[in-house]
């Protein structure tokens, strides 16, 4: 008989490194799309600058937070977190393995964001607009936070897309109800999405305004903290015992 008592377990470092490599394969199609978009963008913008146009509007905002929210869907596209996935048959604690996968995806996301920022800086220099003003409009912390929230959604819910669509539907419905009940402001606020809408508008305004350091620190801690807490809860749905 083989000595079944002494069965070696994989080294944690090797597992994490392998997750980084395997997520790279998973993100390859997304990376190709990004490369194509940035390539076309570069040609258009540089063409306009060389033609004497502004080429670049430093008041532009970038949907990096939305992009980051969607990245986990690509990171997990092959695995069924709630099914008998190959990933779960491996001899690694499942919650730790899920977190390693999220970490690997996060690492690649940061690499892509760094690349995007470099691209942006190069263009601002070429267009002679303020790089700091432009960079302030790239919500990097929020990008990481929304990545964590997106990961929590994919890991924690059996049907994340249905939940997303359902939530969007409810939001629209509440908007409709709110409009229909416009004369009765109190009722519409209570039932409708006005409060949510106002909150979203306010948040957006805060995001658009370069904050002071303390504001930034509080906001970063809150958003990252929420993302991490949600991720921990979601990953805990896959714990072994």
């Amino acid at each position: 008989m083989t000595d079944v008592n002494r069965r070696a377990m994989p080294r944690w470092r090797n597992v994490v490194l392998e997750q980084i490599r395997i997520v790279a394969f998973s993100l390859r199609p997304v990376a190709l799309v990004i490369a194509a978009v940035l390539g076309i963008g570069t040609v258009l913008i540089v063409g306009e600058i060389l033609g004497g146009g502004p080429g670049f509007d430093s008041r532009d905002t970038f949907p990096t937070a939305l992009f980051s929210f969607l990245v986990p869907f690509a990171v997990w596209r092959a695995d069924r977190p709630f099914g008998p996935a190959f990933l779960w048959t491996l001899p690694v604690d499942r919650r730790r393995l899920a977190l390693a996968r999220v970490f690997a995806g996060g690492l690649w996301l940061i690499a892509v964001l760094a690349l995007f920022v470099s691209w942006l800086l190069s263009l601002t220099l070429l267009a002679r607009v303020s790089p700091m003003q432009t960079l302030a409009r790239v919500p990097l912390i929020e990008a990481v936070a929304t990545y964590l929230l997106g990961s929590a959604l994919v890991l924690g819910l059996r049907h994340p897309l249905r939940w997303l669509l359902g939530a969007a539907g409810v939001f629209l419905l509440m908007g409709g109800v709110s409009q229909a009940l416009e004369p009765y402001y109190g009722v519409s606020t209570l039932l409708g999405s006005r409060a949510l809408y106002l909150a979203a508008q306010h948040t957006w305004a805060v995001w658009k305004t370069p904050p002071g350091f303390s504001q930034w620190a509080i906001s970063a801690s809150l958003s990252l903290g929420t993302g991490l807490a949600a991720l921990w809860l979601a990953a805990s749905r896959h714990k072994e015992n």
Partner: protein
Amino acid sequence: MNGLPGSFAVTTHGLSMRYGRETALAGVELRVPEGAVYVLVGANGAGKSTAMKVLLNLERPEAGRAEVFGLDSVSNGPAVRARIGYIPESHEHDYKWLTAGRLMEHAAVHYPAWDREYAAHLIKTFDVRLPRKVGTLSKGESRRLQFVLALAHRPPLLLLDEPTDGLDPIVRNRTLAQLAEHLADTPTTVVIATHHVAEVESLADHVGVLSEGRLVAQMTRDELRRTVLRYRIEVPEGWQLPRDLRIASVRRSSSGREVQCSTIGEQHDVTARLTATGASVRDVTPLPLEEAALAFLTEEGAR
């Protein structure tokens, strides 16, 4: 767990599980001795795959527990999975965009016991084309790759869920021959879930029969051969089968005077009961493994 002869590689204690209203497992008490090739027989939906998933801690039972080499499958999930080579029922691989070679590298990272030389031998034997994308493999190729992934780290326990499904007869025979070679080479306990018992008959030495989540029989192959037998008997006019016999199948001649019945029970006991009813036993033969195992599934409806 001590690895001594007579100890069990797999034990389950009152394993019960439901999918909604469907009973998947009902108080299952598996006992798979170390070194055995245990064939788990049952119709589709009998609970075979669910039992395997519970052993891997992929499914959580509502009641009961499972142990693999003495390790609880829930509290020692990773350690248990490190000791298991698993072939799932589905041929589909998750990472369709990876090449077969890269998928093997991926698996190798997670099993320090991965034997590269042996893996290369298996790749050759199973004719796995490493540069091919996993998503483009045929059913048979996909199954062969799963065999390589399951065997290459020489696990002490193999869980094979319908392993011959999707293999053509030639490849199936070659695969089973390779499995037999592996078992001769590497001391391994094997649990094979299948409803094609005849295909794995040459390997099996223990049999368990699952019916609607209940383990209705569990014994060695010799015990099965001894207790499930076909009797050819001559019977008087108007003869009726004894009510207390466990009958799996009955076939009467056109004259009604000759009857062939497959029964479950010790031969001397069954013979005595038949004789007591006026029948005379002409011939007793053991059944092939598949028929013998299926006898436990058909006994209720045989009369």
